[in-house]
């Protein structure tokens, strides 16, 4: 047999290297597929935090995608090493080893791709449910706001009239100091606007990924800084 060629038996062992826990990976992949489908099916009933779940899914997507990129690069390198070994008449053991590495990487990437697609589909489904819920919620919020009994109700309505062109209806609650807080979370963005008694308000922004923080305190209601505007624009673009 010429150098660089392998027998059918060797090819078989290359495709299914002993000890490689493929079944484990396949079980994980299948479990993930089933788990994600169940998540979408039950999401509405179990009342999950959609923004958080969507964000967690997007982080996993990013992780798997980056991992897969690395695996495919390693597989391509191993494939190139096998070709090099064949051309330079290296030992059969080296050729087989490089081929095994390449095939394992290609196989693993083949497992990753459908899992990644499941994550993407699941996230899109949850986004649709979230958007539907936020659409319904917007009307509830407007009713709540128009009937709000709070020492700062007028100020809350004034600030909301400014924010509503950029943001969706917030999570909102009165504070223990007779003020009122509105909160928005999406992806890496977290924003709080707290209306205080005395016609003033604070805002606080934190980016979960970059760690960036911005805030201003005791601003007169009706004034909006360029810093707040820039923050609103970045959230609206998310």
């Amino acid at each position: 047999m010429p150098t660089g060629q392998v027998s059918a038996q060797e090819m078989q062992s290359t495709r299914r290297p002993p000890g490689f826990p493929r079944e484990v990976f396949e079980r994980i992949a299948e479990g993930t597929r089933r788990g994600l489908r169940r998540l979408v099916a039950e999401a509405w009933d179990v009342g999950i935090d959609f923004e958080r779940a969507i964000y967690e899914l997007s982080l996993r997507e990013r992780f798997i995608s980056e991992l897969d990129q690395q695996i495919r690069e390693n597989a391509a390198l191993a494939r190139a090493a096998a070709t090099y070994a064949i051309r330079h008449h290296r030992k059969q053991e080296d050729i087989n080893s490089a081929r095994r590495s390449a095939e394992e990487g290609e196989w693993l990437s083949g497992v990753n791709q459908p899992v990644l697609a499941e994550y993407q589909d699941c996230r899109r489904e949850l986004e649709k449910i979230r958007d539907a819920r936020l659409h319904e919620y917007a009307a509830q919020w407007e009713r709540y706001l128009s009937a709000l009994q709070s020492p700062v109700a007028r100020e809350v309505r004034t600030i909301w009239s400014y924010l509503q062109s950029q943001l969706w209806a917030p999570e909102a609650a009165p504070t223990e100091e007779d003020g009122f807080r509105m909160v928005w979370d999406r992806g890496p963005h977290h924003l709080q606007v707290e209306v205080l008694t005395g016609d003033r308000y604070d805002w606080f922004y934190r980016n979960r990924e970059t760690g960036a923080r911005q805030s201003e305190e005791d601003l007169p209601v009706g004034t909006y800084s360029s810093s707040l505007d820039a923050t609103l624009a970045s959230i609206a673009a998310a």
Binding site: I28, G31, L39, G47, D49, F50, A53, Y144, A173, E194
Partner: protein, 158 residues
Amino acid sequence: MRELLTSGIVLRMAKERKGLAPFPERPRIEDFEPTEQEKQNPAAKGHVWISVFDRSRTTSAQIFAIRRIAESSRPVFPLPVEGITAIQVEGRTTLYVARDPLQEPECFQPGADGHCGIGDLARRSGEPRAVIKDLCSQLVDAVLILNEISFSETASDE
């Protein structure tokens, strides 16, 4: 001397729901803001702790019983101690979880020995309000989500 936790899960009971939220089950900033009672806890020795329970010693049902609140009437949020003790804002040390024995008569109730406090959530003199907003928002993020369902199933889930 504080007895600090370094691992495990602690449970924080949500406050009574006020206001409006599109996703009512999610933890909110106010769930982690100290109550007036929590601000007065002498065991914190000048710090401010919010009340939590060590999940290895106290169940959710026991928390409701200790607090004399109808069972399951509010969410109870699980937080990993490692996640809490990683929370920091500039100019402050990280948060911590300390054991905080309950006083009589609560201390005689089942599960009372799991009571702990997360500190320090005291706003210092001259400190911007943003510091506490920041800490509370990070505590919200530390809550373990999807504790009822997960992104993956095992074969035994079938």
